[in-house]
Amino acid sequence: MKTPATTSGHALDWNRPPVFEAEGEGELLEVSMGPHHPSTHGVFRMDVALDGERVVRLKPVFGYLHRNHEQLGQSQSYLGNMPYTDRLDYFCSMTNNWAYALAVEKLVGQAVPERAEYIRVILAELTRVQNHASAIGFLIQEMGASGTPLMYAFREREKILDLFESLSGSRMMCNYMRFGGCRVDPSPAWLDATRKVVAGLPKFVDEFEALLSSNEILMARTQGVGVLRPDLAVNAGITGPMLRGSGVNYDIRKVDYYGIYDRFKFLVPLGDHGDVFDRYMVRVLEMRESIGILEQALKEVPAGPIMDSKAKIRGFRPKPGEAYGRIEAPKGELGFYLISDGSPNPYRYRVRPPSLINLTVLEDMCLGQNVADVVLIFGSVDIVLGEVDR
C-alpha cells in the first residue's frame, strides 16, 4: 500500500513525511508503553520511537480489550443489547444507554414522555460531571500528584454513584434507559437527594479549581504541550472537549437539540490554544455548565408517565430500515448505527466510538514532545478502553 503524495494541495490532504526529524546519530530507542502501564487508562499499547527524550514516531496498538461487542449486538435482541452498552464506556453508562435508546427510537419513530426526557437530561449531566471530574483527576495523577485531586474527584463521584444506585440498582452498569422512556420512576425522595448533591457541587468545583488551576507546576507542564490545530481536529473527526479545547464550536447538544436541550440555557466553553491546559480548563468549565443545566432541570421536572404507553418490551420487531442516533457523550460524539431487517435482532449494530477516533491525532500531537509529556497528552484525550476496543 503505497502512500500517495499530497493529491490536491488542500491543506488537510494526507501528508505522510514525519513532522519531526531525529537529530544526532545512532539508532532510535523503541519503547513499548503498555499494555501493562499505570497511566494508559486501561490495556493500551503505544510503540514509541525515541531520539533521546523526544518522540520521533508513535504508533498506537489497539485490541487488548476487544470483546466483540458489535457481533454480540447482532445476536441479541434490541432490549438484550442495553446492558451491553453500559459496558462500552464504563464510566458513563447512563449516556451510553441514552445514545442507544435514541438510535432505536429514531429507528421506530418512538415518542418519549416529557418526564422521561427531563430525567434523562439530569442523569446525563450528572454523568458528565463525574466523568470530567475523574478525567481531570486521572490527568493530574499522571502528572505526579499521586492521587490527591483524584480522590477529591472520586469523593464527589461517590455521591453521584450513590444516586445512581438508589435509582437504578447499580452504581456503574445501570441498564436504565428503555426505548420510549426510563425503566424506573424516580421517587420525590430521590429528586430531593439529587438536589442536595447538586447544591454541593459548585463548592466542590471551586475547591478543585483552587487546588489546581493556578498551580505553577500544572501550568508549566501543560501549557504549550500537545497542541492540536483546529483544522486538523475537524478533519480528523475529533469531537468533545478535545475539539472544543482547540477552539471549534461544535457541541451536539447545541447542533442536534436531541432530547429537550433546547429548553436549557448553557454556554459552550472553547479553548484558544488547543494544548493540554486548554482541554483541562474546558472540562472544568463544562462541569460548571452542567451544574447549571442540572439546577434548571431539577426545578422543572414535570409529573407524568416515565415510559411511553405504546412502547413494547417483549416482541420488539422494528420494521426494516436504518437509523443513526448520536449524543454528546462526555468523551465526544457517541453514535449508534442500526440496520434492521424486521427480525428481533439488529442486522448491523455499530458503535461510533469517540475515544478511538479521538486517538487518530495522538501521533500528531506527540511528535517532538518529551516522552514524559506523552502520558499527559494521552491523558488529556480522556479515553476509556472499553469504548476504543468495544
Binding site: E165, S166, L211, L218
Partner: protein, 254 residues
C-alpha cells in the same frame, strides 16, 4: 510570587486533612469489613427465586415458562421443565422447574429476567460476598441455592416486596371472583337443565327406553349441557347397560 498557586493548593489539602478529623463530610471512608455501609434498597447483584410459605419446593412461584431464559442476554439461565404437575402454594397444579441453574460467573446483573417474569418469581438479591474456591461448580447456583423465601424478599427490598404482594393479592382476588362467577353460572345452567329434565320424563316411556332413560338422566343432571345433545348417546348407553343383562340370559339359554 512564584509558587503562590502551589501554596494555595496546599492550603486546600491541609483544610481537607484537618477537616477529616472534625467533620463527618470530610471523612468519606469506612473500615470495611468491620463497619459496613447499608446498601440502598434498589441495589441488585444476582437473582434469586422467591417461594411463598415454609416449604421451598412447594411454594416456589416459578412455573418454568422459560421467558427469563430466552430474554437473558448472556444466556446464563438453564431451565428444565418437570414432567408432572404439583400443587403450588394456592393449591393449583402447576408445572415446576425440575432444574433451574444460574451461572453467576456469567450473569451480568442486568435485571432483565426480573423485568420480563410474568409471575413475580425471580427477583434480584443484593448479596455480593459470594466468593468461592471452586471456579466452576461453586459459581453455578442450582434451584435450592437460588430459592429464598418471601420474608427474605421483604427484608431486602421492602417497598418493592409490598408492591408485589399487593399485585399478587389483587390477581388472586380477581381469580377467585372469576371462579365464583363461573361456579354460579354453572350452578345456574345445571338448575336450568334439571328444570328441563323434570319437564321431559312424562314423554320418555313412549320411547320404550324405561330404565336406561332414568339411568341416563343422572349423568345428564351434572353436565351443564342442554338435554338434546345427550339423546344420541342414550341408545349407546342403553346398549352398554343392557349387555351385561343380556349375556347371562344367553348363557342360561345355552
Amino acid at each position: 510570587m512564584l509558587g503562590e498557586g502551589i501554596l494555595k493548593g496546599l492550603a486546600e489539602t491541609a483544610k481537607n486533612f484537618a477537616g477529616s478529623f472534625v467533620s463527618k463530610e470530610r471523612l468519606t471512608t469506612v473500615e470495611y469489613p468491620e463497619e459496613r455501609l447499608p446498601l440502598p434498597e434498589a441495589s441488585r447483584n444476582f437473582p434469586f427465586l422467591v417461594y411463598d410459605g415454609p416449604d421451598w419446593e412447594k411454594g416456589l412461584r416459578c412455573v418454568a415458562c422459560q421467558i427469563c431464559e430466552k430474554e437473558c442476554p448472556p444466556k446464563c439461565i438453564y431451565i428444565e421443565k418437570s414432567k408432572d404437575k404439583k400443587p403450588d402454594f394456592v393449591g393449583k397444579p402447576q408445572i415446576y422447574p425440575a432444574k433451574f441453574d444460574i451461572d453467576i460467573s456469567v450473569c451480568m446483573s442486568c435485571q432483565i429476567c426480573v423485568e420480563v417474569c410474568p409471575f413475580e418469581a425471580i427477583k434480584m438479591d443484593n448479596e455480593f460476598e459470594l466468593s468461592t474456591v471452586d471456579r466452576f461448580g461453586g459459581l453455578l447456583l442450582d434451584r435450592q441455592q437460588l430459592a429464598k423465601s418471601n420474608e427474605y424478599y421483604h427484608k431486602v427490598h421492602p417497598t418493592e416486596a409490598t408492591q408485589v404482594d399487593a399485585r399478587l393479592a389483587e390477581e388472586k382476588a380477581k381469580a377467585e371472583a372469576k371462579a365464583k362467577a363461573d361456579a354460579a353460572a354453572k350452578a345456574k345452567a345445571a338448575a336450568d337443565a334439571a328444570a328441563k329434565a323434570a319437564a321431559a320424563p312424562p314423554k320418555a316411556p313412549e320411547g320404550g327406553t324405561g330404565t336406561p332413560t332414568s339411568a341416563a338422566a343422572k349423568p345428564r343432571d351434572t353436565e351443564p349441557q342442554p338435554a338434546a345433545p345427550t339423546k344420541p348417546s342414550d341408545p349407546a348407553k342403553a346398549a352398554s347397560q343392557s349387555e351385561p343383562k343380556g349375556e347371562p340370559r344367553k348363557e342360561g339359554g345355552d
